[in-house]
Amino acid sequence: MNINLTIIGQAIAFFIFVVFCMKYVWPPLTSALAERKKKIADGLDAAERAERDLKLAQEKATDNLRESKEQAAAIIEQANKRANQIVDEAKEQAREEANRVKAAAEAEIEQEINQAKEALRAQVAALALAGAEKILEASVDEKAHAQLVEKLAAEL
């Protein structure tokens, strides 16, 4: 229980250990700790950012999908309308064509009827004249009766 040199020896040893600790033990360990803290914080940040990005991407994808669905619907709608229009146009054209054909045919028929009438009239006139000649057995003055015969033929 004597106070002796040990007290100084102990103080020297203490001093050396503290200095060693301060120079070679404490700094590397605390810097490793700080670095790890930073790494963890960065990692958490990155994770959060990624999550946000993912959310944004999902929203964008949903938007895109909705948009393309709308577009597709519009296109189909348009196509339907166009198809109906084409059908209508075709109907219209067909109707017009039919009318035209019908009109041409009618005109031709008219013309033929007229021709037939004309021919018939001429034949009737000749026939009537021949008939009258035979009936009268007399030479009829063709010139004097031509007017009469013409009149008859026109009446037929």
Binding site: M1, N2, I3, N4, L5, T6, I7, I8, G9, Q10, A11, A13, F14, F15, F17, V18, F20, C21, M22, Y24, V25, W26, P28, L29, T30, A32, L33, E35, R36, K38, K39
Partner: protein, 273 residues
């Protein structure tokens, strides 16, 4: 255990005597053969066992921590690094909560104090006869294995802390500021002598209390282990086991108290009034 010819008091005295090397006025340079001879050597003697164990434990501490510090990574830490980091963070938290100034010395100082004192205290848990017996076999008569039961060891550290207190007091406040702090508090300048007396006593009480608290606790604990060792060998465990378990708390607590008080005293030294 003591042989049959040794009385209890001799056994206790033997276990409480350091291995002292010095210059004896009669026997000359050499190891003291009794506590009385050690006392007669005066101040210029050294307790070889205290120095040996404290330095060995200190070296074990810095070797282990340096080894971990060298390979410290910020990636996934291994077992040893994890362990060391736990201690570092514990110390760092304590320092940060008490000491609010910028000083690169305080945290390593606190770490050294805590771990070193803890290791020295832990020697108390080694059964009291093992190492002295081995030492006796090797021809070394005295061997006190717990450095903190030597008042020289605790006082050595306490005085170092005291030197730091004085150094930082003067460095932070200037010599005049420090003296003013001692003179003009707590009762104003008209009671200067009284203030000075009070403050100087308070200042000196810091290292004394640091040294004696640690020494007293460890000495008393060691003494009880020695007394328990006097019981018959088959009965010792009844007392020594509970006492050792309780002592785990004491050795940690004493190391912690020494560290915290050091931080507090140094924080007070930095404080400017």
């Amino acid at each position: 255990m003591a042989s049959g010819t040794v009385t209890s008091s001799e056994y206790i005295a033997h276990h409480l005597t350091n291995l002292t090397f010095g210059n004896h006025p009669v026997n000359g340079l050499g190891f003291a053969h009794s506590a009385q001879e050690a006392a007669e050597m005066g101040f210029w003697a050294i307790n070889v066992d205290t120095m040996f164990w404290s330095i060995a434990l200190g070296l074990a501490f810095v070797w282990f921590f340096r080894k971990v510090a060298k390979s410290a990574t910020s990636d996934v830490p291994g077992g040893a690094q994890n362990f060391v980091e736990t201690i570092i963070e514990f110390i760092d938290d304590n320092v940060k909560s008490i000491f609010h100034y910028k000083n690169a010395l305080i945290a390593p100082l606190a770490l050294t104090i805590f771990v070193w004192i803890f290791l020295m205290n832990t020697m108390d848990l080694v059964p009291v006869d093992w190492i002295p017996f081995l030492a006796a076999e090797m021809g070394i008569h005295f061997m006190k294995v717990v450095p903190t039961t030597d008042v020289n060891a605790t006082a050595g550290m306490a005085l170092s802390v005291f030197a730091l207190i004085l150094y930082y007091s003067i460095k932070q406040k200037g010599l005049g500021g420090f003296l003013a702090e001692l003179s003009f508090q707590p009762l104003g300048k008209w009671l200067l002598p009284f203030n000075l007396f009070l403050e100087v006593v308070g200042l000196l009480a810091k290292p004394v209390s640091l040294a004696l608290r640690l020494f007293g606790n460890m000495y008393a604990g060691e003494m009880i282990f020695i007394l328990i060792a006097l019981l018959p060998f088959w009965a010792q465990w009844i007392l020594s086991v509970p006492w050792a378990i309780f002592h785990i708390l004491v050795i940690t607590l004493q190391a912690f108290i020494f560290m915290v008080l050091t931080i507090v005293y140094l924080a007070m030294a930095h404080e400017d009034h």
